[in-house]
């Protein structure tokens, strides 16, 4: 997996994951724990539903005038001594970062909040140009040192256990080798390694949670303090933000400061929230670059139904309540954006043509738990259904489309349906064994993989009703 592009169709990637008992157990434990904690944190606020409505309205207002907001943000950032770059796609964004790194002749940089940089596959490009990027979030570091990819937006190493991390740190971290598996000792080793990097590295790359157009303020919300180190210690700071992250006013932040931590880590407030505006001589980075990344977002914005996807504040609440994510983990989605939000975001960012990403809107039973959990009320099930329509339109005439047409024709009137049922009762004959159907052919074979199927009864409801009417006459 790399960036946005899944390397396999979802059903296939899911099959590889769903049958790993240890992974299933790890995922179940973590998702259920966060799920329950979130319910408690959310339950403390009697006005939670009103807050969600406010979150939805605030993001929608910003998206409705997105180009104005972005121009305002650009002007405010520049007025405070920052530099602003516009990137149409991943390649442009990567080149901007490389150019800045080369201008400062760095061969190493530190990173925090890297999901947007993962979307543009920044690390690999930097590596090719001889620049080593170091992840500073503990879980991201674990993922990076093990040459793996994140499996969750909030808990990127959700799929790893403690023994694996012990072996990894003893092998990979300089000067270590005798670490026990105690969490404190493992965290201490990461801290020693990272502290040295924070104090010696000249350049940092960060993501962005929110940016305020009127003040030019950029905001990063985090739990470990590594963000604060990255954002204040280096000489050069480059922040990459998807264009949908802009808010209009400073006050707009307040609603998300309540919605995000409770939805994400089930905390009332997150431990570290950093705000910065441009540069201040003698304090913090002396050069600040803000990269405004489009990479397909303008197209999503143009779609009346798909647009709500851009409200997402990357809290990952939808992942933690999703029964599909719980059984497969994030890697099955094949993109940096896993879970229900990934199932709608990834194919839209790629433009609905990607044959593997096109299977993602199908990766849901439409149970609706994600919509209930979403702090900005993205109606994910509705968008999934809408995108399935976009996918079938893209595919044109298939066996499935013909089957649907045939069923549609049979359903076009009561008497046609009645006729079709009579035919089906005869047709099912060869499939029935011991009163049930235990194996179906073709497209329907997936059903009987783990379920038996009841046979059609000798009389349909409509036939019974007709008989009853006749008898009462």
């Amino acid at each position: 997996m790399s960036g946005l592009h899944p390397s396999k169709p979802f059903p296939e990637a899911a099959r590889d994951k769903v049958n790993q008992p240890q992974l299933r157990a790890n995922l179940r434990k973590v998702t259920h724990t966060i799920r329950e904690k979130r319910l408690r944190a959310v339950g403390e606020l009697p006005h939670w539903e009103e807050l969600r409505l406010l979150g939805e309205a605030t993001k929608d207002a910003s998206l409705a005038n997105l180009s104005d907001r972005l121009l305002q943000l650009e002007a405010s950032v520049k007025a405070r001594g920052g530099q602003v770059h516009w990137a149409r796609d991943a390649a442009e964004a990567r080149e901007i970062v490389v150019r800045i790194a080369q201008a400062h002749q760095v061969d190493e940089l530190i990173k925090v909040k890297s999901i947007t940089s993962d979307e543009i596959e920044l690390n690999a490009t930097l590596q090719e140009r001889g620049i080593h990027a170091i992840e500073t979030d503990l879980a991201e570091l674990i993922v990076q040192l093990s040459h793996d990819t994140p499996s969750h937006i909030l808990v990127p190493a959700i799929h790893r256990n403690r023994a694996e991390i012990q072996a990894l740190f003893n092998r990979e971290l300089p000067g270590e080798g005798g670490l026990s598996d105690s969490p404190a000792e493992l965290a201490g080793a990461a801290r020693r390694y990272l502290r040295h990097k924070f104090l010696t590295t000249k350049m940092a790359v960060s993501g962005v949670n929110f940016a305020v157009a009127e003040t030019g303020t950029v905001c990063v919300v985090e739990s470990e303090g590594n963000g604060r180190m990255c954002l204040t210690l280096p000489e050069v700071l480059v922040s990459i933000m998807g264009i949908e992250k802009v808010l209009e006013r400073w006050e707009d932040l307040s609603v998300f400061m309540e919605l995000l931590p409770r939805s994400s880590t089930a905390e009332r407030m997150n431990p570290y929230t950093s705000f910065w505006s441009g540069v201040t001589p003698g304090d913090g980075p002396q050069e600040f670059h803000l990269i405004l990344l489009d990479n397909g977002r303008t197209e999503v914005l143009a779609d009346a139904t798909g647009r709500q996807t851009l409200r997402c504040i990357r809290c990952s609440a939808c992942l933690n309540v999703c029964p599909v994510y719980e059984r497969t983990g994030g890697h099955a989605y094949g993109s940096v954006y896993p879970g229900p939000i990934g199932a709608i975001l990834t194919p839209q960012l790629l433009g609905m043509q990607d044959k593997n990403a096109n299977t993602l809107p199908g990766a849901s039973s439409l149970c609706g738990a994600c919509f209930d959990a979403c702090p900005v009320r993205i109606n994910i099930p509705q968008v999934l259904i809408y995108l399935r329509g976009e996918v079938t339109a893209e595919k044109g005439v298939t066996a499935e489309a013909l089957a649907m047409k045939t069923v549609g024709y049979a359903m076009s009137s009561g008497w046609r349906f009645e006729g079709a049922l009579k035919l089906a009762r005869v047709g099912q004959g060869p499939l029935v064994k011991g009163g049930e159907i235990t194996s179906l052919p073709g497209l329907l074979g997936g059903w009987t993989q783990s379920r038996d199927l009841k046979t059609l009864p000798p009389q349909s409801f409509r036939e019974w009703w007709k008989e009853r009417e006749r008898d009462s006459e």
Binding site: V324, R327, C367, G368, G389, S412, G414, L444, G446, S450
Partner: protein
Amino acid sequence: MQIDLFITCINDAMFPRTGQATVRLLERLGQTVRFNANQTCCGQMHLNTGYRDDALKLIRKFVDDYRDAEVVVMPSGSCAAMVRELYPEAARWGGDHDLLREVEELAPRVYELSEFLVNTLGVDDVGAYYPHRVTYHPTCHAMRVLRVGDAPLKLLRNVRGMTLLELEGSEECCGFGGTFSVKNPDVSAAMLADKTRHILDTGAEVCTAGDNSCLLHIGGGLHRLRSGVGTVHLAEILASTEQEVFA
């Protein structure tokens, strides 16, 4: 009240007893039931699988069949959710403003059976008798789209002779999801395995729900396990009396 019964295609074809039970129950409560024999399918499978145009034909047909109905009642949470929640969306996606106006006018008169009994008729004891150990699975669409709340449980708690057993993880999806069960069979099976395990843990003889599509899936899984535990639609339990055990 004059009730138009929309029986749903799955009930019509595979679960006629659910339809019969619904009729028996509503008539026992003094209602008049009408069955428009031109009805077929709400179009949910087509829309949810991505066939909007085919779905729109069925949506227009539903509107034609029920335009004049006082209320439409259906023994299915997911079909009622389709009409109330997704018909307007589908009409918007299809750019059909006349249809949108019609579905917005019709949708508030469409009810799932249990919410109709409890919230509209104001009945939560239907005089049922069902001497079995039963566990209840709240289906996703009834719970999260229609917000039927505890309407089905209120009805079940008043069934005489019945032991209602609490189901662990009851609010988790059973893994059916229409064509999801066929297109993502491995994930669907993993979800089903957890659901059937929880059902068996209750010690119930029967699992009930307001949707036969979910029960077809759950029942298929229970049958494959040779568990001896069956599935019965809520309407069949509610229609059962000491004189006539329906399910």
